[in-house]
Amino acid sequence: MMRLLQLNAWTAGLAALLVLLLLATKLIQPDFGGSGLDSLARSALPFALATVGMAVVVIAGGIDLSVAAMMAVASVTAAVLMDGASDGQAVFAVIAVLLVGLAMGTLNGALIVVTRVPDIVVTLAMLFVWQGVALLILNAPGGGAAPWLRALAVGGVTIPGLPPALTDWLPRGVVFLAVVVALVWLPVRRSKLGLMLYAIGSDPQAAFRSGVPVGLVRVAAYALCGLFAALGGLTVTMATGIGEPIPGPYLLASVAAVVLGGVVLGGGRGTILGPILAVFILRIVRLDLTLLSVDPNVAAIVEGLIMVAVVMFGAVLATRGRKA
């Protein structure tokens, strides 16, 4: 147990910080409750999915600068396909969007592996490509979203047979996130592919010598990132009801959350849960600063300083731990 706690000390610390921040929010705004949590979850959802995608790639020793642009492509694809479509057709639209995401990610990864151009250059180039593609599909915000899909992420959880008061504080957005991550990431993590992702991030040479098909696994990492980006783009459309062709501020935010979440930028180390917690922490900090009516420009400075402080604190702890 102690060992498990030690290994996941960073994640546990983030969880504790999240609880403290929620309590602080309640102090600042005594009537903060179900609806507050709901809007928090809804605004955090695209950030969280972008971050999960980024985290997978970073764990595998890479980086994907095109994550926000891929989300835009997914968002407009979903909105165009679902515009005026029946509920049944919308299911196919969702599947199509996820396939588009996988395809975009696979293309990113294949370009990196085949051309041997550094990942940061390839995905920077693809950022512009996917931006253009998104605007070609839909040159202004528009389209539609199936009502049932929107209902998946908006509002509190209600379970038939239980009094609503018992469950409706829990935002559906959080449940959606948990289910999606559990369905996609857990099987990967527990399979050999999961090990291989960590292996190529940790030491590509040793991984190659251990018989890992390094190139294929790298492509898989980017494909997974594309899939999560597509889910993220889908949630943008779910939250607003329309497609948004201009990428949101998800790229830098996802890198920030990945770092804050304890994933080492060099690859090989970190979890998926840590970055997700970090997304919520960063969102709540922003919310609290707004509630305290801090100048938004000052708020950005404070957010940056918090990140530096937390990461430095972590580095100090890690050095201590190594010496002990």
Binding site: R3, K192, L195, M196, Y198, A199, G201, S202, D203, Q205, A206, A207, F208, R209, S210, G211, V212, P213, G268, R269
Partner: protein
């Protein structure tokens, strides 16, 4: 020299293997035959093509010509995974376990049978290894054992061990040797690469010798054979010493640099040396005998765990390269890319170390800088047509720049780490002359070289390091390649093949 009969039923049969990298021919015609139940030593001096051959055998590189067959099946494979499927499992010189995964996860990654792995780990002397231990937390010696146990657990037809024992303490070495011998007695084959003749004598049946990319010999191991092997590794080079320097009388007086019992890491265990003003002291060692660590400690890149360093009689400890530089010790690293600002001009590169000395209140006096830099360029005959960026210079000229910058500064003690590797003969001569001039002007030079012939051309004396210790001190006059090679392989100690 007894030619061993080529077994018709060779388990591994590599013939006519050739490989070139651009204009550099690494392998011309390398062959290796391994019969079932045999341990074959693969030997060769630095640059003979050994590591390229190993990479081809294990599927990391593809040969330009020739073939590798295992049990008669063509196994010119595209990846280590492919080599493993064909029955050849390598244990590389560097640990190939994933640092951020646990032992158990590493086994899963390579589909290693866990029970057999456990058996071998215990057999090799690490019974209480935790399966959930993270690889990065384990000492190097344990990693080597895990690598070997992982390979044995696959039950390979051919096991390739590359410098398996280099980082191991003696008790583990004995266990490893016994285990490897038992493997061969059970009918498996082993390709054994080592610089240690004792180990080769103890377990190997035959030795295949590479020189300049060619297989030049295949002999049975028997008492006294090491002389023949050394000769094969050297070839005709022994007689090809062009110009022997006139050796100067012995040096007296207080040493500029005095090292006693220096140790760090697993490789450098006990090195002592005295370097006097005006002296060029050669350092001779095979790969990985502790010479890298010795130079790192002296340059302040690494701390010693034991021993003392004195400069002009004063004990010093270097926490940082700047400390070593201010004590007058300057390193010219083996990898030129580490020493130079490749994108900047020759002029800037030479002036860089000067800055700390010339700058008064942050302003660099341009005239003084120009004078010194121009003098250095002229002295070295650096081709100034390519003055723009250093990376456009040839390797030889780059190396001259790395030395020139310290001449411009006025060096006291120069640490040269294999300064002539990969450089044409004309530039080499210029570098020897330059080193000589520096010494004549009162500098002390420590000169590690991977080319044995250079000791007579550039040095006054040489120390030979084997297994982290100084095993021989030789005057340049007596430093023929035969003697140096014997010493470098630890043969001057009583470690030869027992008669």
């Amino acid at each position: 020299m007894t030619p061993a009969p080529a077994s018709p039923a060779a388990l591994l049969d590599a013939r006519g293997v050739a490989k070139r990298f651009g204009a550099v021919v690494a392998l011309r015609d390398a062959s290796l035959l391994v019969a079932p139940g045999q341990i074959v030593a693969l030997m060769g001096a630095n640059g003979a093509g050994k590591s390229t051959f190993v990479k081809i055998l294990t599927g990391v590189l593809r040969p330009d010509a020739g073939h590798v067959r295992i049990r008669g099946q063509d196994s010119t494979v595209a990846s280590p995974a492919g080599a493993r499927r064909s029955g050849l499992v390598p244990v590389y010189q560097e640990p190939s376990l994933i640092p951020d995964l646990s032992v158990a996860d590493n086994l899963r990654l390579g589909d290693t049978p866990v029970d057999r792995f456990r058996h071998w780990v215990a057999e090799l002397g690490l019974p209480d290894l935790r399966q959930d231990a993270m690889i990065r937390a384990l000492p190097l010696a344990s990693l080597r054992i895990l690598d070997l146990a992982r390979a044995l657990a696959v039950e390979p037809d051919v096991l390739l061990l590359d410098e398996m024992t280099a980082a191991l303490p003696t008790d583990l070495v004995d266990r490893v040797l016994a285990t490897v011998r038992a493997q061969a007695d059970a009918g498996r084959s082993v390709i054994y690469i080592s610089h240690r003749f004792t180990e080769i004598a103890a377990i190997c049946d035959r030795a295949t010798v590479l020189r300049d990319g060619l297989t030049v010999g295949d002999v049975a191991i028997e008492p006294g054979i090491e002389e023949a092997i050394v000769e094969m590794m050297l070839g005709s080079a022994t007689t090809a010493v062009a110009t022997t320097r006139a050796v100067r009388p012995g040096f007296t007086g207080r040493p500029r640099l005095s090292v006693r019992g220096l140790a760090t890491g697993t490789r450098l265990t006990n090195v002592s040396l005295d370097l006097r003003q005006g002296e060029v002291l050669g350092v001779v060692a095979l790969e990985g005998q502790g010479q890298d660590e010795l130079f790192e400690v002296l340059a302040g890149n690494r701390r010693a765990t034991a021993g003392t360093v004195e400069v002009d009689g004063r004990p010093v400890t270097f926490a940082h390269p700047a400390d070593a530089i201010s004590a007058g010790l300057t390193l010219v690293p083996g990898d030129r890319a580490h020493a130079l600002l490749m994108q900047r001009s020759v002029r800037e590169n030479i002036a860089l170390p000067l800055v700390s000395r010339l700058a008064t209140w942050g302003v660099i006096p341009a005239r003084d800088e120009n004078r010194r830099v121009s003098a250095a360029i002229e002295r070295l005959q650096i081709d100034t047509r390519a003055q723009g960026e250093v990376r456009r210079l040839s390797g030889g000229n780059q190396q001259k720049v790395t030395i020139a910058r310290w001449i411009a500064k006025g060096v006291q003690t120069l640490l040269l780490f294999d300064p002539t590797r990969g450089i044409d003969i004309r530039t080499k001569r210029q570098i020897y002359a330059l080193v000589r001039d520096l010494a004549d002007q009162g500098a002390a030079v420590l000169f590690y070289t991977s080319e044995l012939a250079e000791v007579r051309l550039a040095c006054d004396r040489a120390i030979v390091i084997f297994n982290g210790r100084v095993v021989d001190v030789i005057d340049a006059a007596e430093a023929d390649e035969q003697r140096l090679m014997r010493a470098a392989y630890g043969l001057t100690e009583k470690t030869g093949v027992p008669a």
